[in-house]
């Protein structure tokens, strides 16, 4: 059942073939880079950013309207900025663990990780859409996305640890991914609002400093949401306790 590994002389795949290679032989680009052959780093980067953009669009459906485009634009930005900020630590952590980095292998590991995450988020797209469309509370979708993001990172761990192993490192991947996770939360806070924006609120809040803990807590803050549609009456015996956090305007 194991699929054959591509021959060493194989050219860099593109488009769908690249997606197929990510699934069947994720370490192939790293091996190409080690051998000094073109490994498709740009294609991997673009593929990853596309996956993030699509996932962002699905996440933006919580509020709908312009927020879909805004979230689709911000999600790749979050991924790219997080990766950029974590690149020095990836290099140092990997080197300390024994990785023999070259500029090409470093670029391809970073791009491969981005592509892997983007591809996994692409697979999670229908699930993200379902919960974005049906959830009433911002707190719920925030935690759903956090959960799905952790699942994607857990699966991407395999790619990163194998890539580092190919380069001669022993360990380092788990610690770095934990750092990556925390930085991604803070970058999301920096680029807020992503999922929900009150009417008339600015598209970004770069000037306002806030930690991600505070931002996560605010998802559940007791504060009436902008009313777009009249509220649906609760069933007689089913009072909505804790219904004061921002709600999906579509459901009102």
């Amino acid at each position: 059942m194991n699929e054959p590994k591509p021959p060493a002389t194989e050219t860099t795949p593109r488009g769908l073939a690249l997606c197929h290679q990510l699934l069947t032989d994720p370490q192939a680009p790293v091996r190409h880079a080690i051998a000094g052959r073109p490994a498709g780093g740009w294609m991997l980067t673009l593929l990853g950013l596309l996956g993030f953009a699509l996932y962002g669009a699905a996440a933006g459906m919580f509020q709908g309207g312009t927020q879909i485009a805004l979230a689709a634009a911000k999600a790749p930005g979050i991924a790219a900025l997080t990766l950029l900020l974590c690149c020095p630590s990836l290099y140092i952590f990997g080197a300390l663990a024994g990785a023999r980095w070259t500029p090409a292998t470093f670029r391809i590991v970073a791009a491969g990780l981005l592509a892997t995450l983007g591809f996994l988020l692409g697979g999670l797209l229908p699930i993200a859409w379902l919960f974005s469309s049906s959830s009433r509370y911002l707190g719920t979708v925030v935690w759903i996305h956090v959960l799905l993001w952790i699942v994607a990172l857990a699966l991407a761990y395999r790619f990163l640890s194998s890539a580092l192993r190919e380069l001669g490192a022993r360990g380092g991947a788990f610690l770095w991914l934990c750092l990556f996770l925390i930085v991604s939360f803070q970058v999301t806070t920096l680029l807020r609002p992503v999922l929900w924006r009150p009417e008339g609120a600015p598209l970004h809040r770069f000037g306002e400093k806030k930690s991600f803990f505070e931002n996560l807590g605010e998802a559940f803050k007791v504060e009436p949401a902008a009313k777009v549609k009249p509220a649906k009456a609760a069933p007689p015996t089913l009072p909505l306790a804790g219904a004061s956090a921002p709600r999906n305007p579509k459901s009102r």
């Binding site: 699934l23 069947t24 999670l124 229908p126 089913l238 459901s251």
Partner: protein, 238 residues
Amino acid sequence: MPKSGIFHLLRQGGEPLLDEILAGRGLKVIAGRLALGMTLGAALYGAVFGSWHGPRLAFYVAVKFPLVLFLTTALTLLFSWIAARFLGLPLRLAQAAVLTLLALTVASLVLAALAPVAGLFVWCSPRPTPDARTAHNVLYLMHTFLVGTAGFAGTRALRRALSRLDVPKGTVRAAYAIWIFAFALVGGEVAWALRPFVGSVYAPVSFLRERPLDGNVYEFIVTDVLPHLGRNLDRAID
């Protein structure tokens, strides 16, 4: 043509069928027959599931229950397959789809076998009036337990199939856990969107609620079920 009907699934613990699926032989035929078996089993249990409110809801649930399984499969399949591939399981998308169908078919067969038992409890319950909220809750718990048990039986078949692949046990465990996690997370929400199943003691019978995608099941548990239980517990303690 592979012998891949329901009887083939029950014969020799389903081993010949697993061989065919993992070898990638006759997947379309197997998928068709499994889908048919799953639909029939789930529809039979669905009819019992909805029968508390009479034949109309029984019919609706007989249609909706297989739909829940198909929709959940459709929403989770891509991720399950990608996750399996990333973990190193040598499965094609079609094989992942057939393995999911296999697990659901086993679960549906178990449910169909439990239908007479569930039917007995439904038949013995008081009529659905606003005073029968306790009966409603008991029936809800019973169906949840039976569906959960059947689902567990179904996933054992999936686990057995994955264990036959030439990969480390840890990888199989991880893939199995991810498939179950995705299916449970999404299945709960899809079932919530397609409610009612048991039927409300306050609202009239309908195929779907007025706004099926208004709110999700996890919000309902946190904002409604848990506070309601808490209040009842407080009252009991006082």
